[in-house]
């Protein structure tokens, strides 16, 4: 058992910033992240064994990353890499799985900066080799200078598509098309005033778009992928216009040859830990789905549990950095580590910047607001649950038998019961159930949150000092240990 003032879950931009701020107020910090290296989604770099011979555009922000990473070596900080927080057994205690280092961390306050993961959107062929998530491709490019293909298409929804398209070009790969579901060109004038709140970020986005234009890459807006074609790997993608109500016009489909199809439909905040902690959540579709409720101090409905960064709603790296600091300041106030007047001064500066970036984020959300749903991309044979290979047709068959809610459909089809623990399919199931009942996704009762929050190796539980919780009867999950 380890005891610290502040436990930070996630060593991405938000978590690193929180740790850095906390030490300036004299707090001891445990910084826990399941990756081998700090940086989260944004600050990813080649392994130390890759020697740098020249600075390139791929190293953008490297100096800032190095400065942030320094906090992992600070004497007040215990940095736990390759460590997964899998439960919140007590209000301010975290259960950590990290091989022989597994155990509990007890804290005065917790900042959950768990980030987000790609939103999975099923369409025919999306399980084929060569169809890779935007985050996955970004990791290969940033982390290994590798692109798993020579001719790529990029499809989905959200600002990252243009970034990926531009970095593929920079990596020397041909880009067959960029397919964006939102009609952004039509919406740009209305969103512009908000976007101008952060002209430096807007400029970056325009640069990406310009690079694609210069390379002659077709950019289809208001279109969506309707089929990935191939037997053993993707060979081509078909895209078709998609309307705001989610209907697709397959008759107008266009085909693009590619050996890599990058799919990115935006990001989903990782709230599983906050759900386990019993924190209140609310639904905000444009911002990624279920988000923790927070007050002005970024505190969740659980006392002294704060949440920051993309895990609270997608906002980008700059917002995550500020939120991390804000959360740490508030934790310091709660634990009386900072005088109120001193806190007010820091708060004012941070809030000003936060407001500006939040305004920009609202502009992005308006611009890229997705169609009502992406269910029309599916055919009966489309696999919805990658782990258990449950198809749309199987769901429809169970429905015809009278099974309706998410919980019933999950238990009768095994959808959501595989290794990924539903992270790749529960959103789809919720959307299906919502469309069926005419209710909003937010009204769909999802299966109860259960530990482990993330899959963990069973061996790690043997190092645990508390009895593992009741686990679902799922062969892919570690089982309850008999003692």
């Amino acid at each position: 058992m380890m005891r610290v003032d502040l436990a930070v879950v996630g060593a991405g931009p938000a978590g690193l910033a929180a740790a850095a701020e906390a030490v300036t107020h004299g707090m001891t910090v445990a910084l826990i992240d399941d990756n081998a290296r700090p940086g989260g989604q944004y600050f990813r770099h080649v392994p130390p064994s890759f020697r740098r011979t020249a600075a390139t555009a791929f190293d953008k922000d490297r100096a800032r990353a190095e400065a942030l990473f320094a906090i992992t070596r600070h004497p007040q900080v215990t940095y736990l890499p390759e460590a997964t927080v899998w439960d919140v057994p007590e209000p301010l205690t975290l259960a950590v799985a990290a091989g022989p280092r597994s155990g509990q961390v007890e804290a005065g306050a917790i900042v959950v900066a768990a980030g987000a993961h790609d939103r999975p959107v099923p369409f025919p062929g999306w399980t084929l080799p060569g169809v890779v998530s935007a985050g996955g491709v970004q990791n290969l490019i940033k982390g290994f200078r590798l692109v798993p293909g020579t001719r790529a298409a990029v499809a989905g929804n959200g600002p990252l598509l243009f970034l990926i398209g531009a970095s593929l070009l920079r990596a020397g790969v041909a880009v067959a098309a960029v397919v964006e579901a939102a009609p952004i060109d039509r919406r740009l004038p209305a969103a512009l005033p908000q976007l101008l709140a952060a002209p430096e970020i807007l400029q970056q986005a325009l640069d990406y778009r310009w690079a694609l234009l210069r390379a002659g890459v077709p950019v289809l807006t208001g279109w969506a992928p309707v089929n990935a074609e191939g037997e053993d790997a993707v060979r081509a993608v078909q895209a078709a216009p998609i309307a705001e109500d989610g209907s697709v016009d397959r008759a107008r489909a266009r085909s693009f040859d590619c050996d890599l199809l990058v799919v990115g439909f935006g990001l989903v905040p990782s709230v599983e830990l906050l759900r386990l902690a019993g924190a209140g959540l609310r639904f905000d579709r444009r911002r990624g789905g279920w988000l923790p409720e927070r007050d002005e101090a970024l505190e969740t409905t659980r006392r002294n549990i704060f949440a920051a960064g993309d895990g609270t709603g997608i906002g980008g790296v700059e917002l995550a950095l500020i939120e991390g600091r804000r959360a740490a300041v508030e934790a310091a106030v709660q634990l009386s580590r900072i005088a109120p007047f001193a806190a007010d001064e820091i708060r004012a500066g941070l809030r000003r910047r936060w407001k500006r970036l939040d305004r920009f984020r609202r502009g992005i959300e308006a611009l890229f607001a997705p169609p009502k749903d992406f269910l029309a991309l599916q055919t009966p044979q489309t696999v919805l649950c990658r782990c258990e290979e449950v198809t749309r047709q199987e769901i429809e068959e169970r429905r015809a038998e009278g099974f309706r809610g998410a919980v019933q459909l999950k238990s009768t089809t095994r959808m959501g019961m595989g290794r990924c623990q539903g992270r790749n399919c529960m959103a789809t199931l919720a959307a299906l159930v919502a469309a069926d009942s005419g209710a909003s996704e937010s009204a769909v009762a999802l299966p109860k949150a259960r530990a482990p929050a993330r899959p963990i190796p069973i061996g790690d539980l043997l190092h645990e000092t508390i009895p593992p919780p009741d686990l679902p009867a799922d062969p892919h999950l570690p089982r309850k240990r008999r003692t």
């Binding site: 200078r145 798993p148 990658r386």
Partner: protein, 102 residues
């Protein structure tokens, strides 16, 4: 085909891992997935239920689609495992084993 590009980096000296009896080149620090993709491989395994080919999808440890067997241990995520000289990697039907750990 996969494309390793050398923008501003020197990968160092490659070593060899064995993948289903074939020798595959990997560079220090690469994940097993990067080495497999770098070798031009597409499918990493076939699924238990329908035998469908699968490969790297999320690339960050979330989807469990990139499972391979390494040095006799099944159900390991190729995207989360660093390649080591002499590793023996088996692709194929590895979705079958329950309780596969690290």
């Amino acid at each position: 085909m996969t494309h390793r590009f050398d923008a501003g980096i020197d990968r160092g000296t490659a070593f060899t891992i064995t993948v289903d009896d074939a020798a595959v080149r990997a560079f220090p620090g690469e994940s097993v997935a990067a080495a497999l993709l770098g070798d031009g491989r597409r499918a990493f395994r076939r699924t238990a239920r329908t035998g469908a080919p699968r490969s790297l999808y999320c690339g960050m440890g979330v989807c469990w689609d990139c499972l391979v067997t390494i040095d006799g241990r099944s159900g390991l995520r190729a995207c989360m495992t660093e390649a080591q000289p002499g590793m023996r990697v088996l692709t194929g039907r590895t979705g079958l084993e329950p309780e596969a750990g690290r």
